[in-house]
């Protein structure tokens, strides 16, 4: 292992800072030890942000989509980030019925002329868009289907999906 060759100590344990120089490490059996360091680097990455709506436990994220045991079927991708649009794109290419729910604009931060071209291309591929809309809740229907209530303008609407994927940003 490269780490060992370079004389780097490696701990596969959960770390908690006790003070600016001491870290408590807990292994999978709950056994604890404390290590010290002059400098500490936090590089724990990010994960998909959780939605804050009732029934969010019936939804999945872009991390989960690659581990499904069965095909997602009719899928709602919530968000217009590149993660949401990328998932919508490949799910549609795999033959799924795909809808993207967009709160305001596609690909915020990217050139909007190009972002809208990407939207038009997805649309031409058969991806449906629900624009200026936000989800309100998810409840379970027959055969585990997800009933998504959402607000579009002043209207409250609902639609049934097999899979609801949230891609509304990442947090740490």
């Amino acid at each position: 292992m490269l780490f060992r060759n370079e004389k780097i100590e490696y701990f596969n344990k959960k770390g908690k800072l006790l003070d600016p120089h001491r870290i408590e490490l807990t292994d999978k059996d709950g056994k604890k030890e404390v290590v010290t360091a002059k400098n500490i680097l936090i590089a724990t990455g990010g994960r998909p942000a959780d939605p804050e709506i009732p029934g969010k436990e019936h939804s999945i994220t872009s991390d989960d989509i690659f581990w499904l045991k069965k095909k997602p079927g009719k899928t709602l991708c919530v968000g217009a980030s590149y993660i949401s649009l990328e998932c919508a794109g490949f799910l549609r290419a795999l033959g799924m019925d795909v809808t993207v729910m967009v709160r305001s604009i596609l690909l915020r931060g990217f050139d909007q002329q190009i972002a809208n071209k990407i939207g038009e291309h997805l649309d031409a591929q058969g991806v449906k868009f629900i624009k200026k809309a936000v989800p309100i809740s998810i409840t379970l229907g027959q055969n585990g289907q997800k009933i998504v209530k959402y607000k579009q303008g002043e209207q409250e609407l609902e639609e049934v999906f097999d899979t609801v994927l949230f891609a509304i940003g990442r947090s740490a």
Binding site: G15, K16, L17, L18, D19, P20, H21, K38, N39, I40, L41, I42, A43, T44, G45, G46, A49, Y82, L85, E86, A88, G89, F90, R92, A93, L107, G109, F110, D111, Q112, Q113, I114, K117, I118, H121, L122, Q125, G169, R170, S171, A172
Partner: protein, 90 residues
């Protein structure tokens, strides 16, 4: 992780606030990559930031990571690559 307790500042979404030198609010604690607030969430930038930080910490350089003009891409069915400013920002 006990970040707040030792004085590391974080945002509401849990991301760590670090300066251009990757230092957090605690001078000997650094943060790089996706865990940092307001950074590009890209693997190559995180790798380079880590290399430059290691060089600075061990006296082999002074360069700071630059997040200006980082090329990126969107892997939608019609793929899109960009570098620099969007028309809106320009």
């Amino acid at each position: 992780m006990g970040l707040e307790e030792v004085g590391v500042k974080t945002e509401k979404n849990g991301k760590v606030i670090a300066g251009d030198d990757d230092k957090t609010a605690v001078p000997n604690i650094y943060a790089i990559g996706d865990v940092c607030a307001g950074r590009l969430e890209l693997t190559p930038t995180a790798i380079l930031a880590g290399r430059l930080l290691a060089a600075r910490l061990f006296g082999k350089g002074k360069r700071l990571m630059s997040y200006k003009y980082v090329p990126t891409t969107v892997f939608t069915p019609v793929e899109y690559g960009s570098c620099g400013w969007s028309q809106e920002d320009a």
